[in-house]
Symmetry: C2
Subunit: 164 residues, 2 copies
């Protein structure tokens, strides 16, 4: 398969790869601040081995179609959450692992007010903001020593397509 | 003191209360993704006692001046980070603790692409997005049982002013 069709992310479709952190469509778990604020509680399974969770910023170039995927990476020691800070939507490629190789690959488009938490050991593409200018994301991931990055390069690049 | 002047947040002025999580003005600690993304590494001191860090969403009403502060709260069991998800700036009131009472109170305005991590036990106002519509923030704070909220109500409300 050298083509991969991207679809709008949903909680159901993304659940096997991670957590979609979005307020849309659900009632809050708790009302706070005298009823003026809703708390959607504990939306991501942070999973950090041999280190601690921390907050970093990723400031990235933006990208435009066509999107060509040559490599996926994964983090064996921790989950990784991406929270858009300036509203830039992004393309998210994820895959499960089958004996050290990506399998069941999926492409999702994520809105600029939606965050995701990619589970530990799930293969994913590098951060791919879609649009113009510079994009900024808060990243919640593992802070610590150790080898926490594995890469898988494809024999042939993969083209991401978008349904008409 | 019944008036408090708000100023644009800076790392230096906020350091005694928490961490300003912003990319502006600094070079990244690390270039990743073949040079196309800068990582500003480990910008917040997460400090969680007797629980674990988690990601929640706060969906809040917005507010317009005049701002009147009647109460500050603090969390004795954990730090609390606010990450704007739809670009809404916010007003941040913070204070140190002196024997169970807020002291050295400060008011900051924070831009919609800046996050903050309020340190454990630092007094702060409730989330106060400035503008129109509904504001959305990712919140990184303590998930767990136990009494993690204290409130301090002022005898007289405090008016926040903005320099001309």
């Amino acid at each position: 398969m050298h083509r991969l069709e991207a679809h709008r992310i949903t909680q159901a479709a993304f659940a096997r790869f991670g957590d979609l952190i979005a307020a849309s469509g659900a009632a809050p778990d708790l009302l706070i601040n005298q009823g003026r604020c809703g708390r959607f509680h504990d939306l991501a399974a942070l999973d950090i081995i041999g280190g601690r969770a921390g907050i970093s910023l990723f400031q990235s170039e933006t990208f435009q179609p066509p999107f060509r995927i040559e490599m996926l990476e994964r983090h064996p020691l921790g989950s990784q959450a991406f929270i858009p800070l300036n509203g830039t939507p992004y393309l998210l490629i994820v895959a499960e692992d089958r004996g050290g190789v990506p399998a069941e690959m999926r492409a999702f488009t994520v809105a600029g007010d939606q965050a995701v938490n990619i589970h530990r050991d799930i293969w994913h593409g590098v951060l791919t903001p879609i649009g113009e200018g510079t994009a900024l994301y808060a990243v919640i991931d593992r802070i610590g020593e150790g080898r926490n990055l594995q890469e898988h390069w494809f024999d042939a690049p993969l083209d991401v397509t978008f349904p008409a």
